[in-house]
């Protein structure tokens, strides 16, 4: 078992180490990707926040991801109700269609959107990226919302109806509040999926609707811009905060509980 633990720790080091290297890089004064950094400063952070070629893609990405989230939820929530609660002809075909965007490689869809959206004249526009990202976000959002729906106890609805509530009132006062956390998680996944999606965005977002992953890709490929390390550090810090916050929350709650005399 000791060997297994040693191997596990090595794997963990391999997983964690590369994530941490972007942090010192972002404070480096080096003009290219040199490590260890010759000296430290905040210049590239200042450059990042002052440069519209970097801030605009951030804004684009947030807006596109938000619109994708809303549109995906509007499509997936009703579909999930039908899929989970009804048995009908064509259900397994529909299930396949809902999951297909996850099966088809993104580069194949990037090619399809490139010519299709050129034809529709919505290439290099935020609208095109939102439409494409919505398709690609449907499967993961559907999986989460369908799982939440499967776990829902329909006796709650029957009880509400028995007590005289109509179908709409039952939905708004019983079904929706119980399922809200599942819906929110589904929406969050759609948001993140769009925010992180690179391949389709590289091919169809153009300069005008450039998303952050596209800007990072171009910047790494073409100019080796040190600002990439600033963006990477900020994104990593956001993940760190999101992943650790439940733990921190629990720790704070526990200290508060202990502080209260029994």
């Amino acid at each position: 078992m000791r060997i297994v633990v040693a191997l596990a720790l090595l794997s963990a080091l391999f997983i964690l180490g590369p994530l941490l290297i972007v942090v010192p890089m972002s404070f480096s004064t080096a003009k290219s990707f040199a490590f260890p950094p010759p000296d430290y400063w905040l210049g590239y952070y200042r450059a990042f926040f002052a440069d519209i070629r970097w801030t605009q893609p951030v804004i684009n990405s947030v807006l596109i991801a938000f619109a994708t989230m809303l549109l995906t939820m509007a499509l997936v929530i009703p579909a999930a109700f039908a899929m989970v609660r009804q048995r009908f002809f064509g259900r397994s075909a529909m299930n396949l269609l809902l999951m297909m965007p996850m099966i088809v490689p993104h580069i194949v869809m990037a090619l399809g959107y490139y010519s299709y959206f050129s034809h529709l004249k919505i290439i290099h526009s935020p609208l095109g990226v939102v439409l494409a990202h919505t398709c690609l976000s449907v499967p993961v959002c559907y999986l989460i919302i369908a799982a939440a729906l499967k776990g829902f106890d329909r006796n709650l609805e029957r009880a509400a109806m028995n007590l005289g509530a109509g179908p709409l009132r039952t939905f708004w006062e019983v079904t929706f509040p119980v399922l809200r956390p599942g819906f929110l998680v589904g929406g969050l996944f759609a948001f993140i999926h769009s925010f992180d999606e690179a391949v389709v965005a590289i091919f169809i977002s153009g300069q005008a609707a450039s998303t952050l992953p596209r800007k990072m890709f171009d910047s790494i490929r073409i100019e080796a811009d040190p600002i990439v390390s600033v963006v990477s550090t900020l994104l990593f810090a956001a993940v760190l905060l999101a992943v650790l916050s439940p733990l921190l929350w629990r720790a704070i709650r526990q200290t508060q509980m202990k502080a209260v005399p029994a």
């Binding site: 391999f14 590369p18 040199a34 579909a79 048995r87 993104h106 990037a110 959206f117 990439v228």
Partner: protein, 284 residues
């Protein structure tokens, strides 16, 4: 399969309601997913009349065969290394539990949620000409240190790192359901701990191995960003080849044929998985 909500599910109005609820998603995916996908299929065989010469061009050229074969080989290598690195980690997480498991799962989650581009950039720094790894190699006396970046090695290594979290999560979700008492029973009946692991735990964890390997292999087959940024330009993977055909040569016919080939390969792997395991198990 058990009927959920018996009476409603049988009624005609229930079925009509179901289709009304599905209509927005169905229409949207038809217009913005199936049509562009269909266009790729269409352009792969039309130029401007029906032709198979895009496919003929692919299959008669050694270069394309090498790309296809190289993609398979890279995907297989990445899958094997992901499994080798993930299995002990997942096993230790399940067996030790407690604080160790929490910290390890946090590390995996951190990597899982960090964007592919951020992690690819990190490898760019590590393997770069002025990076720490070459520095260590030359400090150890390997001078001049070998070029690490823009090789098959660099993109393979980075893809292993990028895809490990998927493998760990697939293994972990199966391993945590294994009742460890069956392993203890085997030991109490005279098996050595290793024998008990090999003959009891390992077979029970097989569904996790199959799921993780299928996921990683398929994601690797269609990988675009990392091989393009870190890999050797002379040894492209198939997704990178499609990108080049679009961006540099504007060869939509050939790019479409290549895309259809990639799609067929991916679908074949899914079909094999579906035949033996069932597709619904892949995303649990």
């Amino acid at each position: 399969m058990a009927q959920v909500g018996g009476i409603v599910a049988q009624s005609r109005s229930g079925r009509t309601a179901a289709w009304l609820l599905l209509l927005p998603a169905l229409a949207f995916l038809a217009v913005f997913f199936l049509i562009p996908l269909g266009q790729v299929l269409y352009f792969s065989v039309m130029d401007p009349k029906f032709t198979l010469h895009h496919y003929a061009a692919f299959f008669t050229d050694d270069f394309y065969w090498r790309v296809l074969f190289g993609t398979f080989r890279t995907a297989a290598i990445v899958t094997v290394f992901c499994l080798l690195l993930s299995y002990p980690l997942s096993y230790a997480i399940v067996r030790l539990g407690g604080g160790f498991a929490t910290v390890m799962l946090l590390i995996v989650a951190m990597s899982f949620w960090t964007s592919f581009l951020v992690r690819t950039f990190a490898w760019m720094v590590i393997l770069g000409n002025n990076g720490p790894l070459r520095g260590i190699l030359s400090a150890l006396g390997w001078t001049p240190a070998p070029e690490l970046l823009f090789t098959r090695f660099s993109s393979t290594l980075a893809m292993v790192h990028l895809l490990i979290p998927f493998m760990v999560l697939a293994l972990y979700s199966v391993m945590k359901k294994i009742d460890h008492n069956v392993v203890r029973a085997a030991i109490s009946l005279g098996a050595t701990p290793f024998e008990a692991f090999r003959r009891i735990f390992l077979p029970l964890s097989a569904p996790g191995i199959v799921n993780g390997c299928t996921l990683v292999f398929i994601m690797c087959l269609g990988f675009y960003v990392t091989p393009v940024l870190l890999g050797s330009p002379r040894e492209q993977m198939i997704a990178g080849l499609i990108g080049t055909q679009i961006e540099e040569f504007l060869e939509f016919g050939e790019a479409s044929a290549t895309a259809v080939i990639l799609l067929c390969v991916t679908m074949t792997v899914f079909a094999i998985y579906n035949r033996f395991v069932g597709l619904d198990k892949l995303w649990g």
